[in-house]
Symmetry: C2
Subunit: 80 residues, 2 copies
């Protein structure tokens, strides 16, 4: 249950980032977060806070709600 | 910008909790969180994590996305 949410969120960040053609480094810069932090989020190694979700949403020109919506990762949601 | 998200979220938790007629203590119990933590969230004193948003959502029989949606606090959203 719990961890799955972070895994899905990480996949969604990655999918959104790649669809916009930006690197982890660039996203870190745009979101004013540490470079390594982006990788940790994408790998679900961090229990991200609401304010950092907002930072990422702004950097990706989207909203926290859209980042949490499962349908945006439908493609990546095979099985795990 | 930033802090506002936490304020709105805290209000939403409070509104949802009250609409279900449960105390902070009861919500803490249902969500398996510390009792004082609920008050801190409602007062936007904490930058809540995604996993704790999920815990609260489950305890309130809703979803993280619904808790983040601004329209559910329309009533309380007068001015601040």
């Amino acid at each position: 249950m719990t961890k799955k949410l972070l895994i899905d969120f990480g996949k969604r960040i990655r999918a959104e980032r790649l669809s916009q053609g930006i690197s982890q480094e660039k996203l870190a810069e745009l979101a004013d977060l540490h470079r390594n932090y982006i990788g940790m989020i994408e790998r679900a190694e961090i229990n991200i806070t609401l304010l950092n979700i907002e930072k990422l949403a702004k950097a990706l020109k989207t909203t926290p709600i859209k980042l949490l919506r499962s349908k945006s990762t439908r493609v990546e949601k095979q099985r795990h």
